[in-house]
């Protein structure tokens, strides 16, 4: 099973096992990883599952689609590496993925 590491703003690491097919947001919520709120439950409607994808994983996770890019307008401190984790599907290729959670979801 693919392993995902979430690194909080203060450096705290959370490593979880995810199932291929679920989203990076779902894997976090299922394993009670703090820093991802997912207020809308994964409908790409709220921007409270905002993460920064670690540089070495940006190519593998790809670019946000238009709807996600629109929704990122509602996030705070958006950077080049910003994604909404409800829009990243876990695959076997993403085994080892590292994402950083922002100081605050907004």
């Amino acid at each position: 099973m693919p392993r995902i590491t979430y690194i909080e703003h203060d450096g705290t690491r959370h490593e979880v096992e995810a199932e291929a097919g679920m989203t990076v947001m779902e894997a976090a919520v299922k394993n009670s990883v703090p820093g991802i709120e997912a207020e809308c439950g994964g409908a790409c409607s709220c921007a409270t599952c905002h993460v920064y994808v670690a540089d070495q994983w940006r190519a593998a996770t790809g670019q946000p689609e238009e709807m996600e890019e629109d929704m990122l307008d509602f996030a705070f401190d958006v950077r080049e590496t910003s994604r909404l984790s409800c829009q990243i599907k876990v695959t076997d290729e993403l085994d080892g993925l590292v994402v950083h959670t922002p100081e605050k979801q907004f």
Partner: protein, 343 residues
């Protein structure tokens, strides 16, 4: 809008799917309802957050969108002529014993009602507050989430942050009144009406408005008075822009709001209810749908429908204390079918 007090059997706070179905269940028992919601349309989260998203777990409907579910519920409750009071928030509730309650909204609409049903989902939609240092102390003085009177913004040096219709509409409306309007948005593309975007770009080209690609990251000033904003541009560098007013438009989030101050027993911002009547710690006030909490609670629309039906039975006892509740089926009951207008 003060003056007349609306007298009714039930006031429902919230107009999401569970609130709409509550109108149906109450209607079958001849309980008349007025509905209050902060949004400009019924449907709650279904209509506001995910109108086009498919829902697959409504019994007997293979798939239905949030908007279609709302439309179908509205159709179903039509025979009961519910009255909607939209774009209003209930601010005050006063208990009057067995007579029920007096309620008042933020726009001054007043009600006298026998029972209150809180079906407010995640709470009332409120503007999102960017997590910027000092922003709280500047709210109401230098930072505003809405414009009530354009005149209040005359001669101000305004930064408008955001890339949706609200940001664009207000940038256009305040240009000319304000000393200077600067729109700050993180990218070249907008989620707003193309016509507004074109108008904005024309004003920028004419030198009458400024547009900066970037994000507001810092607020500077003191005693609640904004003097400049730190704006991080595309290059990652933050530079200061002198301004005295910030209007952030980053959409809405949900907060429990004034309901939290009504003395009801709460658990982690949810209202505690029993599972027989879905009544709160205060008699005659019910809570159904996502806003309530009880052992085994599942935040599903279908759970809310069930809660609405059981709530209505107890509501009947309060509204018609001398009558006896009899369970009737819509398939066979002549009286229910008359109420539904199918007989």
């Amino acid at each position: 809008m003060t003056g007349d007090v609306i007298k009714t059997d039930a006031v429902i706070i919230g107009a999401g799917p569970v609130a709409l179905f509550a109108i149906f269940e109450l209607g079958l028992l001849d309980i008349k309802a007025h509905v209050i919601d902060i949004l400009d349309k019924p449907g709650g989260q279904c209509a506001e957050l995910y109108p086009e998203k498919p829902i697959y777990d409504i019994p007997a409907l293979l798939v239905v969108s949030g908007q279609e579910l709302t439309d179908r519920l509205l159709q179903q409750i039509k025979p009961f002529n519910p009255v909607f009071h939209l774009q209003q928030r209930v601010d005050e509730l006063e208990a009057r014993g067995e007579d029920g309650f007096a309620l008042k909204t933020d726009t001054g609409t007043q009600f006298e009602t026998r029972i209150v049903i809180i079906a407010a989902g995640g709470g009332s939609f409120t503007p999102k507050r960017p997590p910027l240092k000092r922003i709280e102390e500047m709210e109401g003085k230098s930072v505003f989430y809405s414009v009530r009177r354009i005149e209040d913004f005359r001669d101000r040096t305004i930064v408008i942050a955001g890339g949706g219709d609200s940001a664009l509409d207000w940038a256009l409306a305040l240009q000319g009144v304000a000393k200077r309007v600067t729109l700050v948005h993180r990218r070249e593309e907008f989620r707003a009406a193309p016509d507004s975007v074109n108008k904005m770009r024309a004003l920028v080209d004419a030198g009458e408005m400024d547009f900066i690609i970037g994000q507001v990251m810092e607020l500077h000033g003191d005693a609640g008075q904004l003097t400049s904003a730190g704006i991080r541009g595309k290059d990652g560098e933050t530079s200061r822009l002198d301004c005295d007013t910030l209007l952030p438009f980053f959409g809405l989030t949900m907060k429990l709001g004034p309901v939290a101050d009504w003395g009801l027993n709460l658990n982690e911002n949810k209202i505690l209810v029993d599972t027989e009547k879905f009544e709160t710690s205060q008699q005659r006030i019910f809570a159904i749908g996502d806003i309530n909490s009880y052992p085994g609670k599942l935040k599903l629309i279908l759970s809310g429908f069930h809660e609405a039906a059981l709530m209505a039975r107890q509501a009947y006892h309060y509204v018609y204390p001398d009558a006896r509740y009899v369970l009737q089926y819509t398939t066979t009951s002549t009286s229910l079918q008359k109420k539904l207008g199918v007989r």
